[in-house]
Symmetry: C2
Subunit: 205 residues, 2 copies
Amino acid sequence: MANGGFLLVLSGPSGSGKGTVSEALMKKNEEIRYSTSVTTRKPRPGEVNGENYFFATKEEFEDMVKKDELLEHAFVHTNYYGTPKRFVFDEIDRGEIVLLEIDVQGALQVKEKYKEAVFIFLLPPSMDELLNRIRKRGTESEEDIETRFSNAFKEIDFVGEYDYFVVNDSVDNAVTDIENIIAAEKLRVKRHSDVKELVIKPKED
Amino acid sequence: MANGGFLLVLSGPSGSGKGTVSEALMKKNEEIRYSTSVTTRKPRPGEVNGENYFFATKEEFEDMVKKDELLEHAFVHTNYYGTPKRFVFDEIDRGEIVLLEIDVQGALQVKEKYKEAVFIFLLPPSMDELLNRIRKRGTESEEDIETRFSNAFKEIDFVGEYDYFVVNDSVDNAVTDIENIIAAEKLRVKRHSDVKELVIKPKED
């Protein structure tokens, strides 16, 4: 039943600032639910199952992949990470907006399985600024920086697969753009099973 | 060339308040262009060709219909009215947002010819309120009022053909909703030929 909920996929290349924007967006809009990932990595002290992550064994994770229970998944370093369908779809069924912040490869996987999501591509304001941002992390060798930059450049070609683009020239502007997109998507006819019902039986306050 | 412009079709049944909302929207957003209709009715004193309307003879109008130069047209009382493609498409090519306020039948005609437009269905807050609004016009017989009301009720079924719905519970709220939709639609990837260009060659201010 479509009752206004949807999955918002916020994605972009390394250095686009999707983590920062995502955090600022959540802080300003407490009603947005953050998609909880499932992972095979061990919980760190203080991490709560079902809150920070759903923790799973390698066997459990591979079983979820086999049963097509994930919207996307990736193997990073020595661990699996994925987005469980059940969590996302349960929230959407309750009319919630679920935010998934993810890299470009992950977003493209989600699109294959669930094109009803709203896909936003976060762009750096310029390629110079993108390089600055990648450099500022300061933890990587010049070679790593160049690889990351060249990957980011190539990933921007996938913007055509997305619904919206947002230029991250400032975090505030990017958040406002995303808030406008959310406001508009809430008014999509296709996200409501019966719009006529809204008028015939207006909701009690 | 897609450079961000689009046609916004604001439509709804009689009594939904589309005229009032449309006027308030234009007043607050002076950059929006209003679609100029072509008509066979005679200019009234003070009306300027190409500003209030494009005035045409019956023969000229029928020729435009024959050549498929109109997005929609209707015969009202003794005159033709229509929306010329050229005006709308020229403005869109310049990156402008063009507003067309039109009844449901007209909007459905536009959709047949140009589904790339953004279609907004304006709903009254309730059927009681719709009846109030139709009555308040005070110029019609009880029979006319009932016909108008019953037509409006049937027209709401076409909301499924539209992209967005906006409930006109107050003019201010309706205008804000439409402004959010416009802000979001400006960020649509498909409305820009080359999003990557935005990043590689950022525009000079």
